[in-house]
């Protein structure tokens, strides 16, 4: 047997080299990268999937062609929560993109509480830009943080919108969709009582004198639990989400309980129902429900499949004042980029917020435009004329309010959603005989305390 001599020194030295490679992470962070045409590469992380992603990619391709200094390179990061995870992880690793879309909570997180100024203040750029005055006031407020710093510009902003089935309204001889929650209740109740889903055709028709006892009644209003709706109802009825300095939430107030009670009563009265996921949208497409409230953008996804006449209206209004709440993300520029790339990033952000581009973005996605003047553009006017209900979200721009922006708010929303779900799951049961107001108030009180605890953690 041939003996294989082993030189341990050799093995050890090989291993040493391996170990060396380990510790030598040749990091090439923060270097400017140029394309073959000599354009500076700008990295943009987003979460616009499917149809919206296609629209965004087309617009960006256009931007890249429109000038020869910068080339924006997009990376699709999946859902918002995963994008958020990626952004924060990249800040930790000092390996950020140049631009990203994000909610206000993340912006706050990255600039105030924990990120230690990971985003740049856009104020110096904004000061040299004449377009900022033309940005809708609500978005200006949305972008401005403590000490007048501007950490973001609006990117994909939306409002809630009410989609309605025109065939059903026609059956009941109702000319226009409900403008208030009270009207929604009246009309919704009528829909539930007078309209049914035909067994043969699956289409809506009026209830007949002699009706099959197990005919399916048409539902008035279908919804998924969403704090967004509750918050808007709360503001509309003169309530407040938080105290002045946003250190405490007020979801245990009577106004808040009333708002929740509306939903609970609606379900208990039978004309409305709660569902999950995208089922309200599916039911609407299948003509099983007359009204649903979703983000204005959902229309983009649903439109193709809606083979019946439908339209979209703003969210119903309440008792005291006309208010709605804006949602959606903004874009920010990261401070770990080089100055050159920050300039490029700003150039793109500015371009995206130009009247024409924001108008086109809005027209092809049902987000709202960010510039006042974009509403005056001929193409926008033409589009609004051709697109029934295309203005449902835009009409809410003057009455738009903001949610609290602290990063703890995200956690509060989770608690609030769970609270709403819990309440509904209790009162929905046929066996439930108790006082629904009692259940609502008890749960909202307990969960408000929970939310305040979260906020306190954040403030400390």
């Amino acid at each position: 047997m041939q003996v294989l001599k082993v030189n341990y020194k050799k093995i050890l030295s090989v291993l040493f080299i391996v170990a060396l490679v380990f510790s030598l992470g040749c990091s090439k962070k923060n270097e400017d990268v140029y394309t073959e045409q000599g354009k500076l590469k700008i990295k943009f992380w987003h979460a616009m999937g499917g149809i919206l992603g296609k629209v965004l990619d087309d617009l960006i391709a256009e931007y890249n062609q429109s000038q020869d200094k910068y080339e924006v390179h997009t990376e699709f990061m999946g859902r918002y929560d995963i994008l958020e995870q990626k952004i924060i992880a990249s800040v930790m690793a000092e390996n950020t993109p140049d631009i990203a879309q994000m909610y206000e909570g993340v912006t706050m997180f990255l600039t105030r509480d924990k990120g230690e100024e990971s985003l740049i203040d856009l104020k110096p750029y904004v000061d040299k830009w004449d377009g900022y005055k033309d940005i809708f006031e609500v978005f200006q407020r949305n972008s401005t943080y403590d000490e007048g710093k501007i950490y973001s510009l609006p990117f994909n902003k939306s409002f809630p919108a009410m989609m309605y089935n025109k065939d059903i309204l026609k059956l009941l001889n109702i000319a226009s969709p409900p403008k208030t929650w009270a009207e929604l209740r009246t009309i919704g109740t009528r829909v539930h009582k007078e309209v049914v889903v035909d067994k043969e055709t699956s289409l809506p028709r009026l209830r007949r004198e002699k009706e099959d006892p197990d005919v399916v009644p048409m539902m008035g209003y279908g919804f998924v639990v969403d704090p967004w709706t509750l918050e808007i109802m709360l503001l509309q009825n003169g309530g407040e989400m938080t105290n002045k300095d946003e250190s405490q939430v007020k979801f245990d107030s009577d106004v808040s309980i009333d708002a929740m009670k509306f939903l609970v009563d609606a379900v208990r009265e039978g004309w409305a129902y709660r569902t999950q996921g995208y089922n309200h949208q599916n039911d609407f497409s299948a003509q099983k429900v007359a009204f649903i409230i979703t983000s204005s953008v959902s229309r983009k996804y649903m439109e193709r499949k809606l083979v019946f006449p439908f339209s979209v209206a703003p969210i119903p209004m309440g008792k005291k004042k006309d208010v709605s709440i804006v949602s959606g993300t903004n874009i920010s520029v990261f401070s770990s980029s080089t100055k050159k790339r920050q300039d490029g990033a700003w150039d793109f952000v500015k371009w995206f917020n130009s009247p024409e581009i924001t108008a086109r973005w809005a027209m092809s996605t049902f987000y709202v435009p960010t510039r006042k003047s974009s509403l005056e553009l001929p193409m926008m006017k033409k589009w609004l004329k051709e697109t029934e209900g295309g203005d449902a979200a835009m009409l809410q721009l003057p009455i738009g309010e903001l949610e609290p922006r602290s990063s703890a708010w995200y956690r509060c929303r989770i608690v609030l959603r769970a609270s709403m779900e819990k309440i509904l799951s209790i009162v929905e049961k046929a066996s439930f005989k108790g006082d629904s107001r009692e259940i609502i108030s008890q749960n909202l009180k307990a969960d408000t305390a929970k939310m305040n605890k979260e906020l306190k953690k954040y403030i400390n």
Partner: protein, 328 residues
């Protein structure tokens, strides 16, 4: 007497087979349903009464983006026909030659394949490269370590081994945050390094091989050394050839583990070019949340390579599993 016994046996065997067939059907059914769905049109997917793809009529809109639409003929004029769409679009009259008939939509696979950036092809290349390198590396490091643990005596041996073993109980999620920091400190985020190097060693492999090696008589080792065989030589000439079954087991497990891992590559990669098929699939499912026929097509091409590999190398899979089980 004998005859009735035989009949009884036949009845028993029939009973067993029917039970097993029902069970096997239930096990395989999700895959069958996945395949059936992946060949359907989006109209058929939501038609709850239809299980198999049927013949459908398609019309290509050559004026706008060459998109294929599933249509229905509502009026037949001989040469031309009036067609109705399943989406929001008014009926139109077209020449019949423009209409095509399709039953099994193989195009769903191509659609799903190209619907991600750059394409699932790139994800496959990544996944295969990573899985192969990780497997080779892990097998090598495991052999070396297990060899030392069994045949050599050295200070702190048991402590080191126990320490290794203890890591098996730590949930992977614990490692994510610190490892992310380490990898980013090394500048490896979004590189193959981050996907490969942390997995070049695995306790499972070391453990399994150790369990196998301890069954080999120490005398064999001692005799070989006395005969003048080096330790290195013993390892390569005697031990490794003897240990083919556990090595194959480890290879299969490591390969599968690497191929199927989701959370790690999700966290340590950012760019589309670095994604693995699992990560690609999870992003895809978020973007195309309701296009089930495409999602199922994508799932199908993530799953099929594994099924093929399994059927080809079946013997090793099952032996390895059973071996792993009994020695554990």
């Amino acid at each position: 007497m004998i005859k009735s016994n035989k009949k009884l046996k036949q009845a028993k065997s029939l009973g067993i087979h029917s039970l097993l067939i029902v069970g096997a059907f239930m096990m395989a059914f999700p895959f069958l349903w996945m395949m059936l769905t992946s060949f359907k049109s989006s109209q058929e997917v939501i038609n709850v009464d239809q299980w198999f793809p049927k013949e459908k009529i398609y019309w290509q809109d050559t004026k706008k983006g060459n998109e294929d639409f599933q249509v229905e003929i509502i009026e037949d004029y001989g040469e031309a026909a009036k067609i109705k769409f399943f989406i929001r679009r008014d009926p139109i009259i077209v020449d019949k030659s423009q209409l095509t008939k399709k039953t099994w939509l193989f195009s769903n696979f191509a659609k799903a394949w190209n619907k991600v950036q750059p394409s699932f092809g790139r994800y496959f290349v990544n996944t295969i490269v990573i899985a192969v390198v990780v497997t080779a590396g892990q097998v090598m490091t495991s052999i070396l370590a297990a060899y030392a643990f069994v045949f050599f005596q050295f200070p702190f041996k048991n402590y080191i081994f126990t320490l290794f073993l203890a890591t098996m109980m730590v949930p992977q999620q614990v490692l994510l945050i610190p490892n992310y920091l380490i990898l980013s400190g090394l500048g490896w985020i979004d590189t193959y390094m981050a996907l490969i190097i942390p997995w070049l060693a695995g306790v499972f492999g070391i453990f399994l091989l150790r369990q196998f090696f301890v069954q080999i008589p120490m005398e064999l080792f001692e005799a070989a050394i006395i005969d003048g065989c080096s330790k290195w030589g013993f390892l390569f000439r005697i031990l490794i050839p003897l240990s083919k079954p556990p090595i194959i087991t480890i290879s299969i497990f490591t390969f599968l583990g690497s191929w199927n891992s989701l959370l790690w590559p999700l966290v340590v990669t950012n760019s589309q070019e670095m994604r693995t098929i699992q990560v690609g699939l999870s992003y895809f499912s978020q973007a195309e949340g309701t296009e089930w026929e495409l999602l199922m097509a994508a799932s199908a091409f993530c799953i099929i390579p594994l099924i093929v590999m399994y059927i080809v190398a079946q013997k090793h899979f099952v032996q390895g599993e059973a071996g792993a089980g009994l020695k554990g």
